[in-house]
């Protein structure tokens, strides 16, 4: 892990995607395992990222500190091996050629998220408040075009501070939610080709070529909860676009979701279906694919610990046409460990350019 960090830092300091992947903040291991759903089924501080109204799904209070999550693509194993064997540099032309030769056609991706979450339920009707501080670092490299290789590098460091509240209306069948967030972003997005290497162009660095910005915005959401045994839910969220100076802005987004919760003895099943990016601003111009915006998944909880957490959880789902699965063991809030295997769509339509990824999560809390 330490060497992996060293590698990321090496890219930041010494040297160093791309359209296709719809990048959002705060997509966690649980949501990813459930096909990147959460508009009505988020049950943790992730609600602040998905739909603040779903804070009403929480019926207790806790603090996660620290929360740590590592996401990596299968191709990043090569980066790890390189790091283990002493790392690499991209200073000379030959170094750059060697790197292109080794990684051509590969997509090493590493994301590290850490932070602190605090969630407090005030009223069983759905009045909850939450806040979190999240630090998210992404390194996404693609070496493409075997004819004249290009290293496309996307690197982003985000600091997110956000606060949210869910407010029940009446008995709590309808819930409104709001999040206010401040995001500080540093990023570097470039393509360095073989021609650049031949012409002796400097390899871009975050320090000299990066973009940065800070901005604030809000999310507004609602949730309807059916007062029945099946506990059907539907909800939606509006995410205001946030300008971030020179860095890539966060696009405006509308999303809708439906879901249900079924309880069978020691089992609890949650089903979810979300339609996200209905504003069509998260992807490339002209991308109107509904499959790209369809997410569905389920969670089977065994031995429920509370209304929002089970001792063991098994999950699966489909996101943008790609299958996902995951599991979690939860020792109340004291220690949570989870893992997810999912496929991220990095192409321009559902099923075009899948990237196999793994998420490892653990948190301590109380």
């Amino acid at each position: 892990m330490k060497k992996l960090f060293t590698l990321i830092i090496a890219f930041l300091l010494a040297s160093p995607v791309m359209a296709g992947e719809i990048r959002r903040l705060g997509e966690d291991y649980r949501s990813k395992a459930m096909g990147n759903t959460g508009i009505v089924t988020a049950t943790s501080a992730t609600a602040l990222f998905y739909n603040p109204a779903t804070l009403s799904n929480i019926f207790t209070w806790w603090i996660d500190t620290p929360m740590m999550e590592l996401t990596y693509s299968d191709d990043s194993k090569d980066l790890y091996d390189t790091a283990k064997s002493g790392g690499f540099n991209l200073e000379t032309q030959q170094d750059q050629f060697d790197f292109m030769d080794t990684y051509i056609g590969k997509n090493p991706y590493i994301k590290f998220t850490t932070g602190t979450n605090a969630v407090v339920n005030i009223s069983a009707r759905g009045l909850s408040i939450a806040g979190n501080y999240t630090y998210e670092a992404v390194l996404d490299i693609k070496v493409r075009n075997p004819s004249m290789p290009e290293i496309s590098t996307f690197m982003r460091l985000d600091h997110v501070r956000q606060y949210g509240i869910s407010i029940p209306i009446g008995i709590g069948q309808w819930v409104l939610g709001a999040t206010y967030k401040t995001i500080e972003r540093n990023e570097l997005d470039f393509t360095y080709g073989m021609a650049d290497a031949l012409e002796g162009s400097d390899f871009p660095t975050l320090a000299s070529d990066g973009a940065s910005g800070i901005g604030s915005g809000y999310d507004l959401g609602f949730l309807y909860r059916q007062n029945s045994a099946s506990r059907l839910m539907f909800g939606g969220v509006y995410r205001k676009g946030i300008e971030l100076g020179d860095a890539t802005p966060i696009p405006e987004e509308y999303a809708l979701g439906i879901g249900m919760v079924q309880q069978f003895g020691i089992f609890r099943w949650i089903g979810a279906l979300d339609f996200r990016d209905l504003s069509y601003k998260g992807a490339s111009d002209g991308d109107k694919s509904i499959n790209r915006r369809t997410h569905w998944g389920s969670e089977l909880g065994i031995f429920p610990l509370s209304k929002s957490r089970s001792w063991i959880s098994i999950r699966n789902g489909f996101s943008q046409g790609n299958y996902s699965t995951g599991a979690e063991i939860s020792f109340w809030r004291v220690f949570v460990i989870g893992g997810t295997r999912y496929i991220e769509e990095t192409g321009e339509y559902a099923g075009q350019n899948p990237s196999n990824r793994t998420v490892l999560y653990f948190s301590f809390g109380f």
Binding site: A19, G20, Q93, Q94, F97, M100, D101, I104, G105, R144, N145, P146, S147, M148, P149, G193, M194, A195, L198, E199, G200, Q226, N227, S228, S230, L232, F234, I258, M260, G271, L273, S284, D285, G286, D287, K288, S289, N291, R292, T294, W296, F318, Q320, G321, N322, G347, E348, Y349, A350, G351, Q352, N353
Partner: protein, 327 residues
């Protein structure tokens, strides 16, 4: 009311799940420009060159055209990455260049397709594109030169049929006819129209100049070793071509003029600028055993000697490139 909503939502979820399951939630093709570009790039990454050519051709931008050109190169088995990284490190670029010349007509056609797209279709050309064009065009010319001159790599050095200093090992050598031991005639049939068709794309209007005349030479009798002045008849055919737009030579000229930078490739670039190397107006001269003075195929008054940079190439110039006269 609640039951009605519950039924509607349940029905909607079930219907959506069935539909998305049936369709696997996947799309089958791109519907927007970025999607078309991604399809093209994905095929390229996978080295599915034939599919890449088809996919990239749908993108009507310079980027798309460039990728189409690169896909044609891939289809021909040419890895620019190997060539260029090799050129920047090897001491003898000619060995590498000869190793990459297209081996078949089909591959040469793909080289030419790529060249045509880069030089004719792309609106704004980058330095890299000029480098690619220079490589492709020079290799197409080297392909013909290689066939004609039997270029070979031996022990790291490039040899040709005239490496010994004369053309006698070449298929197009001079023929000396003799009468009573004295040279009485010189015959040269030319390099052939096919060569010029390929490099100048002058297939329909290949210019062939034939001259039959007699010049006086000092001749030494090979039997008696006595010398005397004697008229020697010439029967020379000189093929030539005017470089046409769209030909490898024309592209090579334009790419050579357009390229700049690439200091690390300076040695290699001079070898790739094959037009500059050939159209230098060097007139070929050849010594013939029986004749005291060297002979030139192109003689003023009979066959016009080559002129530097005139866009016309003939046998005298080609042979002069192959076996330049000693200073």
């Amino acid at each position: 009311m609640n039951k009605a909503i519950q039924k509607i939502v349940t029905l909607f979820m079930a219907l959506t799940l069935v539909l998305t399951s049936l369709s696997s939630c996947k799309d089958t093709s791109a519907t927007h420009q970025a999607g078309l570009l991604e399809t093209c790039m994905t095929y390229s990454d996978q080295k599915k060159w034939s599919d890449a050519v088809t996919a990239c051709a749908l993108i009507d931008t310079d980027d798309g055209k460039h990728l189409t050109a690169q896909a044609y190169m891939g289809l021909a088995g040419l890895s620019l990455f190997d060539v260029i990284s090799g050129l920047s490190t090897v001491d003898d670029p000619m060995t590498l260049i000869l190793d990459k010349i297209p081996a078949t007509t089909g591959k040469a056609k793909n080289y030419h397709n790529a060249l045509q797209i880069i030089m004719d279709d792309i609106t704004v050309k980058t330095n890299t594109m000029y480098l690619e064009a220079l490589l492709l065009s020079s290799m197409l010319v080297y392909k013909e030169l290689s066939t004609l001159f039997e270029l070979k790599v031996k022990n790291g050095a490039v040899t040709n049929c005239a490496s010994s200093g004369s053309l006698e090992d070449c298929s197009f050598t001079f023929t000396v006819t003799k009468t009573a031991g004295y040279a009485s005639g010189l015959v040269f049939d030319g390099l052939g129209a096919d060569f010029y068709d390929a490099i100048c794309q002058d297939r329909d209007s290949a210019i062939s100049i034939a001259a039959s005349t007699a010049l006086t030479h000092t001749i030494t009798n090979t039997i008696t070793s006595l010398s005397q002045s004697q008229s020697v008849s010439y029967d020379m055919t000189v093929d030539s071509c005017t470089i046409r737009d769209g030909s490898p030579m024309a592209y090579n000229k334009l790419a050579g003029e357009g390229i700049s930078g690439f200091d690390d490739l300076a040695d290699s670039l001079s070898q790739l600028k094959i037009y500059d190397e050939i159209d230098q107006g060097v007139n070929f001269t050849q010594s013939v055993d029986d004749l005291t003075d060297d002979i030139s195929i192109c003689n003023t008054g009979y066959i016009t000697p080559p002129v530097s940079g005139d866009g016309i190439i003939n046998d005298c110039e080609i042979l002069g490139y192959l076996n330049p006269p000693a200073n």
